[in-house]
């Protein structure tokens, strides 16, 4: 479980960092918290020749809740998200999901940029980014670009980042007042990789659901929206029947993965159960808040 040998650089600017990555031509990896990369290297699933550490680069670690959007620097750690009162108000779904990330010690070091770049289908942050339509700002040797989160994730452990590109920030659109949200996750033990998880957000248009978004992770090979479940919610009353229909739609729509811990049929069933329960809780939360 010892790490393979590699070179290490700790540049102080993004220009230096991207230049190092460009020079290495795909043999280098960016290291932020290292909480996914280092286990991968310990298992020899990755053996980069060079690690480029971002820790000395200024400006990557802020949480800014502005009027139009929420900007999270790539080096924001899970711990920062859980501690942020502003985020808890502006985007409560995010800390609710991040509470399921691994363990205390990991949450003290793991970063959202690292999680996105790692693109583990069982990771919470990419799923929330996809659900919320977040934009990912990246910098490469050739300049800046912005990638919609769902276009960043190309497959399990696969992104559309170029070899020399570094994620610098993720921007979430601000939520309208009163948006409801739902999240639930199932893992064999708390902190284990998700076997299935669901996230949802919707607005109320009078008595009816509008702008519903539903996403699944852990059960599929990438975090993904589930349009049939969204269709089953939009225009309906937020009640058990509607939530049941959305759950059934999600179960039917996904193509579940299989592994040692869970088969496809089980994952399909879990996704339905989790979504139904999470949506019911989204209403219960609303009722509690009203009281």
């Amino acid at each position: 479980m010892k790490l393979p040998a590699f070179d290490y650089a700790c540049p102080e600017t993004l220009d230096e960092a991207t230049a190092l990555l460009a020079e290495a031509g795909g043999d280098a990896k960016v290291i932020a918290g290292g909480q996914s990369l280092l286990p991968f290297m310990a298992f020899r699933l990755a053996a980069p020749s060079l690690l480029v550490d971002l820790r000395k680069i200024a400006g990557l670690d802020g949480i800014e809740v502005a009027d139009g959007e929420i900007r999270l620097g790539a080096m924001v750690r899970w711990r920062d998200i859980l501690d942020s009162a502003a985020l808890a108000r502006a985007l409560p779904l995010l800390p609710a999901a991040i509470g399921h990330v691994a363990h205390y010690q990991i949450r003290n070091r793991g970063t959202l940029g690292g999680s996105l770049a790692h693109a583990d289908p069982a990771s919470e942050f990419p799923c929330i980014a996809v659900l919320c339509g977040a934009s990912v700002d990246v910098v490469g040797a050739g300049g800046h670009r912005t990638i919609p989160a769902d276009e960043l994730i190309a497959g399990p452990m696969e992104t559309t980042l170029e070899d020399d590109e570094i994620i610098v920030a993720v921007r979430f659109p601000r939520w309208p007042e009163g948006r409801r949200w739902a999240f639930d996750e199932f893992a064999l033990r708390h902190g284990d990789l998700a076997i299935a998880a669901v996230a949802a957000a919707y607005d109320m248009d009078g008595p009816h659901i509008a702008h519903a978004r539903v996403a699944v992770m852990g059960a599929t090979d990438t975090p993904q929206r589930v349009p049939p479940a969204e269709d089953a919610l939009n225009g309906r009353a937020p009640d058990d029947d509607t939530f049941g229909a959305a759950a059934a739609a999600a179960s039917a729509a996904i193509e579940p993965t299989e592994d040692l811990h869970a088969g496809a049929a089980y994952r399909r069933a879990l996704v339905g159960t989790l979504l139904r329960r999470a949506l019911a809780e989204s209403c219960a939360r609303e009722r509690e808040a009203a009281e």
Binding site: M1, F6, Y8, G34, L38, R79, Q105, N108
Partner: protein, 160 residues
């Protein structure tokens, strides 16, 4: 690579290979063998040390990443002589048997209780889920942590 860090209050200047984890650096370069390695893939928590106030996995932190940091290991919890209230509580509640996972659990709980001396049992269990103990069944560990809260509430750093 040359790094300089502070370990248990003492400065240390070292030359380490980039691949050296903080845990290996502490054990081998500094002889602080109280920090143990049991899985080296970030699950068991035996290697937990406190870096700039935060409990982290010593096997998932490179020594070079700790350049400039303040590190506390299990050896640094108690001053010379007396055990800390947390260590005493572990003794009183029989919260350790073979002792191998104990260092990582003590450092984890010390960081947690320092942050939040009012932490409840369910959160202690949640935090402890980042550590594996094969001997105790965990209950005495939770009880010891609950008991030690009082000392952390009294203010200051009871470990010093």
């Amino acid at each position: 690579m040359k790094i300089a860090l502070t370990v248990n209050g003492r400065p240390a200047a070292l030359d380490v290979a980039p691949r050296t984890t903080l845990a290996d650096c502490l054990r081998h370069a500094l002889g602080l063998t109280g920090t143990h390695l049991a899985c080296e893939h970030g699950v068991c928590g035996a290697c937990t040390v406190i870096v700039d106030g935060a409990a982290v996995r010593g096997c998932l932190t490179l020594a070079v990443q700790a350049d400039g940091a303040e590190v506390t290991t299990v050896e640094g919890l108690a001053g010379d002589g007396a055990l800390t209230p947390l260590q005493e509580a572990f003794r009183r509640h029989h919260a350790l048997q073979c002792g191998f996972c104990t260092a990582g659990i003590l450092t984890t709980l010390h960081a947690l209780l320092t942050e939040n001396p009012d932490v409840e049992a369910c959160e202690i269990r949640e935090v402890l889920s980042g550590n594996i103990c094969r001997c105790t069944g965990y209950i005495p560990i939770v009880e010891a942590a609950l008991e030690a809260r009082a000392a952390y509430r009294r203010g200051g750093d009871p470990a010093q």
